[in-house]
Amino acid sequence: MSVFILRRVMESVFVILVMTFLVFFGVSVIGSPIDIFAAQECDQRCRAELAQRFGLDRPIWEQYILFLGNALRGELGNSFQHGLPALQVILHRAPATLELAFSAVFIAFAVGVPLGMWAGLRPSAWSSRAIMTLSTVGFSVPTFWIGLIFIMVFALWLGWLPAIGRGQTVSIFGLELSIFTLDGLSHLVLPATTLALFNIALLIRLTRAGVGEVLQSEYVRFARAKGLQPSRILLVHVLKNIMIPVVTVIGIEFGGTIAFAVVTETIFSWPGMGKLLIDAIEVLDRPLIVAYLILVVVLFVTINLIVDILYSVLDPRVRLGGRAR
């Protein structure tokens, strides 16, 4: 196991290296932050001074080597815009995004799996067909549109929920979280559901397919023949066996959900990392963009690692793989 983890870590270091290279040169090709930050009356002299301050007057490869040197010491540079270490700025906003992503995945799991099982058990019932149609809609409709429609229906017409922003937060272990206050929850419902829709659709399809397949298997027939209660067959034998693909997908999608949160956060003015990234790109705040992407790579690698470990817990064949052969 430790060799496995070590290999993963080395792989991710390589990925991060390639990624910083791409982002660094990519962002520099796009344009110069100086022209965004400088006021219109800031003349040549003033612009040259700014470039020098940010080290942008040096050749790009020199800037990159300098960046790598600092990165090795754990310094990813200060955000141009905020004047703080980029990582600190991002981590400050992380709780909001993680909270949103966790809620979205939770909603997806709680809604998607039961609906998928229902559809799998009764493939031809009209209710199942309705569920499947809904899941198609969930797949095909873009997040930003759904978000706007939610705002229109639930915030404007019905007036049940606030349209924008994050609610009251409480400090829990130093993290500012809003899921533990009523006000916070009411603000969270719309963006989290918007973000969850795609995953709900995905999980419905996945679970239905899994249930359909497992129901045909020998061990389920045997369990039936043995006279086990249907609920036990379903909740233990079927559910456990369809969990492997579900966990994989949830794992991968969790990373994706954080990435997709960019759009949702922008629409709902949710003060998370995604909105930070968008704003950073807008003003070409390179340290912030690089730091954010490094963080995302690390996140994806970690999630994949956790998923692999979960496999071995869920499926003994994975755990015993080496010895069985």
Binding site: I30, G31, S32, P33, D35, I36, F37, A38, A39, Q40, E41, C42, D43, Q44, R45, C46, A48, L50, R53, F54, D57, N78, F80, Q81, H82, G83, L84, V89, H92, R93, L148, I151, M152, A155, L156, G159, P162, A163, I164, G165, R166, L182, T266, I267, F268, S269, P271, G272, K275, L276, I278, D279, I281, E282, V283, L284
Partner: protein, 538 residues
């Protein structure tokens, strides 16, 4: 859960009993398009930062809604000789922590700017470099500002930066200590209360303010980037007023019974077409697609034809929802140096074709019109419309728009010929905008019409490198003429010469709109900033 609900009820009750004792505090929530990045008034020049900072910090000279200089921390000012301005400072002004405001604070602010703000992406220090302004304290409430040579626009330029407290801002970490409140001690009508980046900035009434008593107890700024969401937040009651309401919704919001009101004022921001004047232009081609061997844009008849071909009224009515002021000027009406004689060119495709014919381009040519697609109101739609209008008179126009973070670098120095210290722009013709932020014409004539000259700091946005010796000499003279009566004709003349030569082609002034609850009143500002004291209860 029961416990939880109980707690909430209890909290609500205790709140209620408190509220009986005094009148409920009034809160104004403002939904703004862009997020505040810092509360350090010397950190950036972004309007979204300045408008919040202006609630807390004050400048020596403030601006009225029409961008005319009015007394703030300085009560009066006058030039006492060719190189010196004297500013009388307001007495009886206290910082939010109770310490008196004196000339030392002004001197400190100058020193802070000149020393350079570590890490600041765009401090207003360049204002001091302009004319090499040196400050001298005369007594506690008088300062002299010396320049090399006469400097008529001193009051306007001092409206560019806020005064910070010497006893608070000494030795603090720039930006950081202003965002956490340590150094955020100003003299303004509101005090710092809370800053949660990306979420909200909260300021509270300063009961000891020297000026008119602020109406609101609390003011909350909430950034809502998406236009549709910002409008939804207003309609949902999450916010009381928003800036930049989406233009397609304006007619609906203006209706009597909509429950909302819209305020509007022609802004100081002119939208214009600018040309590049090189011998050969990369984006000008012959009709068969081969590179053009002459630059037709150097012919004033061609530029005039391009102006005549633009139907400015159609752009206003069809694209801007009525929210634009077609113009042939670069300085807005009412500003010092406005050239009354310049009218927008009347739309005439025939006239345009005739001019092209006279210039020897009766068959036309091919050109690419560049521009930003997320900087000005409806910029992309305007560019597309103009391209069609030009194509109609024979100039086959392609469109290439891009996000502002790409556009502005390319338009300034996107050409491969660029070397450090010598910028060469990439495009041949483009749409851009310019706000007369100082409220008078020296700023604009110098930035847009004067020849590009890094040493003199002129022609800063003259990216096409237009050069006209008469404009230059008039503008330079205006810059050192202290007497307003003598300065005015110089500026007007320079503007008229430049624009009659079609150095650039103005399209319109944007109109600033705010949408708010019908129970409120709002006094709009030409410079696009949103202030709480402009909003009153109806």
């Amino acid at each position: 859960m029961k416990l939880f609900v109980g707690t909430v009820l209890l909290a609500a009750l205790s709140f209620g009993s408190g509220a009986f004792a005094q009148t409920a505090p009034t809160t104004l929530t403002i939904g703004v398009r862009s997020e505040t990045s810092s509360l350090d008034p010397h950190w950036t020049q972004f309007p979204q930062d300045k408008q919040v900072e202006d609630h807390i910090f004050e400048r020596l000279v403030a601006m009225d809604p029409n961008s005319r200089p009015i007394p703030a921390l300085a009560t009066s000012w006058k030039p006492i000789n060719d190189n010196t301005w004297e500013f009388q400072l307001r007495r009886d002004v206290k910082w939010h922590d109770g310490k008196p405001f004196t000339a030392d604070d002004v001197v400190f602010t100058f020193d802070r700017l000149r020393a350079g703000i570590a890490g600041a992406p765009a401090s207003p220090a360049f204002v001091l470099a302009n004319g090499n302004k040196q400050i001298k304290k005369v007594d506690d409430h008088t300062v002299h500002i010396q320049t090399t040579g006469p400097f008529p626009t001193m009051p306007e330029e001092l409206a560019f930066f806020s005064i910070v407290a010497a006893h608070r801002a000494q030795g603090v970490t720039p930006s950081v200590d202003f965002n956490n409140g340590r150094a955020t001690i100003g003299t303004g009508p509101y005090r710092f209360a809370e800053f949660r980046p990306g979420e909200r900035v909260v300021v509270e009434r300063n009961p000891d303010y020297w000026g008119a008593k602020p109406e609101w107890d609390r003011v909350v700024f909430r950034p809502i980037t998406q236009d549709a969401t910002r409008l939804a937040a207003l309609m949902n009651g999450d916010v009381d007023i928003i800036d930049y309401p989406p233009t397609p919704d304006l007619p609906r919001l203006r209706q009597q019974n909509s429950g909302y009101s819209v305020s509007e004022i022609a802004s100081d921001r002119v939208i214009y077409i600018q040309f590049s004047y090189r011998d050969l232009e990369p984006f000008v081609k012959n009709l068969d697609g081969s590179p053009a061997t002459v630059n037709p844009l150097r012919d004033v008849r061609v530029r005039k034809a391009m102006s005549l071909a633009i139907n400015r009224d159609a752009i206003r009515d069809r694209i801007m929802g009525g929210a634009s002021l077609p113009t042939g000027n670069i300085v807005p009406p009412g500003f010092f140096g406005y050239a009354e004689q310049l009218k927008p060119d009347p739309f005439s495709a025939d006239e345009a074709r005739k001019l092209l014919q006279q210039a020897g381009f009766e068959k036309g040519f091919k050109i690419t019109l560049h521009g930003p697609n997320n900087r000005y109101i409806n910029d992309q739609a305007i560019i597309e419309a103009i391209a069609q209008m030009w194509t109609r008179v024979g100039i086959q126009t392609e469109v290439n728009t891009m996000p502002r973070n790409i556009f502005f670098t390319d338009v300034i120095r996107g050409d491969p010929m660029t070397i450090p210290g010598f910028d060469v722009g990439k495009f041949s013709v483009w749409l851009s905008g310019w706000g007369t932020a100082s409220g008078e014409a020296v700023y604009t004539v110098r930035g847009l019409l004067e020849s590009f000259n890094p040493e003199a700091g002129s022609g800063n946005a003259n990216w096409g490198r237009y050069t006209n010796a008469r404009v230059d000499s008039l503008s330079r003279k205006a810059r050192v003429t202290l007497d307003p009566a003598a300065r005015l004709p110089l500026l007007v003349q320079a503007t008229e010469i430049g624009l009659r030569d079609y150095a650039l082609v103005p399209i319109h002034f944007q109109v600033n709109n705010w949408a708010f609850k019908a129970t409120l009143n709002h006094r709009p500002r030409v410079n696009e900033r949103t202030y709480a004291w402009d909003v009153t209860k109806r």
